[in-house]
Symmetry: C2
Subunit: 86 residues, 2 copies
């Protein structure tokens, strides 16, 4: 595997998996006061568009990576929305 | 401009700019207790690798988008590191 695709795959892995520790922290603490609602609304929407882009261009890495990020960031957004409503 | 590049550009815009409201919230509150340090360490590292990837492949959109994200997420990480040390 070329350096180029190693770099791209590792960058994608880090930016995807990075939302896992925040999701775990949010699930445990159930406290989202310092998390920005506009951030997660925009980010989750953007990730959803990346999934659509990946499907339109038949690019599995973009589809899979962004589905994982969508789920993790979506969990955080759900807790934030619940917090805002209560 | 084709639907395809509109979708990709808009997705990139949302996932990039989404860190602006979190950076503003963090600068104002100076409180990062609920933000995950491992998330921002991994995410900022991943975005840095995307910048290297963009340079290696001469892709300006990837370079510019990720430089903006690197600055915004880097600000949040700096506040988190300061909080952790104090």
């Amino acid at each position: 595997m070329e350096l180029n695709s190693i770099l791209g795959n590792f960058a994608a892995f880090l930016t995807t998996v990075s939302f896992l520790p925040q999701a775990i922290k949010t699930i445990k603490s159930k406290n989202t006061k310092q998390l920005s609602l506009p951030m997660y609304l925009m980010f989750v929407s953007g990730v959803f568009l990346w999934i659509c882009y990946g499907i339109m261009n038949n690019q599995m890495p973009i589809i899979i990576g962004n589905i994982i990020t969508f789920i993790l960031a979506g969990i955080i957004l759900a807790y934030k929305l619940k917090d805002v409503k209560s």
